[in-house]
Amino acid sequence: MIDRLLDAARGRVDGADALWRREERTSVAFESGRLKAAGVTEEAGVNLRVLAGGRTGVAGTTAAAPDVAALVERARASAELGERLDLVFPPPSSSPLPLVSTYSDAAADASLDALIQMGRGLVERLEREGCQVNVALEREVSETAVGNTAGARGRYRSTAVAVSADVIRIAADDVLMVYDQHLGAALPEAADLDALVRSIEERLEPALTVVAPPDGLLPVVFTPTGLAAVLLPLEQALSGKTVIQGSSPLGDSVGVAVFDVRLSITDDPLAPQRPRSRPIDDEAVPSRTTSLVERGVVRQFVYDLETAARAGTRSTGHARRGIFGKPQIAYTNLVVGDHPVTVGARHAAPLLGGGLIAGMTDGLIVDDLIGVGQGNVIGGTFSHPVALAYRVQRGEITGRVKDAAVAGNTYDLLKRIGGFGSDGRWLGSRWSPSVLLEGISVARR
């Protein structure tokens, strides 16, 4: 398909690149402990970008046997309106594409019954009096082909297995929800499912007691989930897109020590057995690991071909494209932690607080916040009510706090990190441990 499309484009436009992807998903869902539905999805499509008269245009289709000439024409028409851009499609890589394991035969071949059994086992282990358990499993098998008229080609298969579980307890008007997920290219092993169950239990048990929230400027441990609110401004600020737009607070900070000397952030498309790993990006740029922040110093922003052309730099291989629309910048696997970050093959044992609370006189563990991503994220200031948080007093977790809000500024808080936990783990496509931050504004409501 890619070759046919690029052949059709040659001669009619000045250059082109294309992505073809086929995905098959199988899913089962247990609602309130009962298996209610099983589903399959089959989807295939192609996305074409052309360069014509120094302008780019895109077109995509999910038609099973697309009219390639019509698709090229639609992309060319879209290019007529485009801005001028010195886009250069990368030539074939002089060295072989990196080897990265993205496919598991066992995951691809797992039967529907095997998924159902796995889900049923989880439900049985998580069920308890007065609680509702929901479990969902999804297995995806995909195949991607990418290429351009400069001759670059790439093709790979991927698998992804996502297992998610939540336990909900409603007592009068108090609603408690504890959620976790396991995501990997392979089928989860017994130890992975154990970790999932224990992670939920770890957070459920102490949450059954509700205690009064503290007030004031306090130390707070952000769990790997809770850390999302703190990291989101950085994810935006390190994108080449916000940098060329002038809206990144880190735009002039390459080479500058902006953060605590222990903080490192890396984007790693070569992490083994991660669903977002890949040998080549969606614009045929070979994958490589990119250090974004190293020992507190800003090193690099992420770019795709277009933003790199506008910034006068090279793509870092961070293009992601769907069937419709043009490629966009996206991280692959973000690895966040204490330099040098060591990513374990699997989860560390779940440990609420990450081993960081022993010396804490009074403070919080924040696992989930409400409203992350709302408002003016990139400036770094956040203020959120807690969804799931625990009070720590004299080194012990004393219970769950409700009706509290935490506020701070990412850029100020990450200048001085109180500690990294021993509980580093993958959460979707991000790896991080818990992080202790000092001086978070905590307010009671």
């Binding site: 089962v28 309130s32 009962r34 298996l35 209610k36 539905a37 099983a38 589903g39 399959v40 999805t41 089959e42 989807e43 295939a44 245009g57 895109v58 077109a59 999910t62 038609a63 099973a64 028409a77 879209s78 309106l81 485009g82 801005e83 529907l112 159902i116 007065g130 509702q132 307890r169 409603i170 009068a172 108090d174 609603v175 929800m177 737009q245 002038g246 809206s247 607070p249 069937i323 629309g325 043009k326 409400i370 409203g371 992350v372 709302q374 408002g375 400036g379 200031t381 203020s383 009510p385 969804a387 409700k402 009706d403 809000a405 935490v406 506020a407 504004s441 905590v442 307010a443 409501r445």
Partner: protein, 458 residues
Amino acid sequence: MKDRLAAALRGSRADYSEIRLERTWSSAVSFRGRRLESATVSEDQGGFVRALNKGCGWGIASFTSLDALPAMVARANELSRAVRLDEPILLADTVPQTADAALDLDGDVRGISLAEKKRLLEAYNGAMLAVSDAVVDTQASYRDEVSEVWYANSEGTVLSLRCPEVVVSGTATARRNGAIEKGLESVGLRKGWRSVHGLAERFRTAAERAVSLLDAPRVKGGAYPVILDNELAGVFIHEAFGHLSEADFVYENPQARAMMTLGRRFGKPVLNVGDNGAAPGLRGTLPFDDEGTPTQDTPLIKEGILVGRLHSRETAAKLGERPTGNARAISFRHPPIVRMTNTYIAPGAGGTFADLIADIELGVYACGAFGGQTMLENFSFTAAWGHMIRDGRVAELVKDVVLAGNLFQTLDRIDRIAGDFRWNQMGGGCGKGGQFPLPVTEGAPHVRIEQALVGGDV
């Protein structure tokens, strides 16, 4: 197409089967700053099959290759049979429907060139950029579509629907001395090309607001009497209350059902809330839901008392209530689940906006919405901007107005509702269960909360 559906249904061996086929033509233009980001035309198509057998669960198949339809009908049946259930899934009875609905295309967007759409958006984007040098960035997007849907089920319902949609949105980012503020405008209509002209003033106003916010103080955190403007009141009722009224939240969960018992007092007698999928001309409006049930106006809170909830056929059967036409899917890629349509707080007898603030010595007027999220009974909403209310008058502009609280307490503290009802016809949409964005509309008058917590400097 209907013949294809009928033939595929005849081939189904399941006790109940339904098929939805869709074809969507769409075009989109977007600007970032002065630069055109993209201008594209897309055609998407695909199908969805759902099967149910006695003693079994749902079998679901979605696909982009329509040639696969007969195979997918068989696959859905197999999947259903693989799911064994002790307690059967029942579907509430509905009268089989036969209809061909074609909404007015209002200037068919398929006949307008991309270049014309680009010129229109460029004008709105330019209106934002022209406001001041402090406007350092803009994002503007135009998207339209014409979608055709065919639906049939094994009970005899056969429907077809053609409907348009058009959305124009803009964000202006203002920056000065490290401070960054945003202004948003968004118009979303179940209409066509004729309805998106003459909006430059609204985009200019959004950019002016972003610039004004640069110099505005942060609101001082604390408990205040709060007036929600029409937009924020609409977002609030959708996010904080609407989702709890979706019956799939309670139908399998006895504790949730206890919390949402019909007859429970949720507010003062001034409060009336409903969801109306049949209101003419709105984004959440459709003649039928994605199970073929006709849409309707469903009262949820009447004079402060919980009186109803939103249903699919499955949740209605389980709770012994009637389907309300709220089973919706964002596309053929997803099964229908219980969703809102056009959710509203009904106009009250509290008079005008001026009447609402007349006796407030110190309060906050919270306007527009940057976003809102609810975690069950707790919510957080970020207003786009706010004003202090001092001695019964609207006073200075303030920023970072975040409302947070407990749903039950907050609904109960709504003590006065104005008569100035308005639907907020915006773009965007609602997200649930991985399905985003679903076109919905919210509507409300100005609403007074006697006391609410406003975050800011906490």
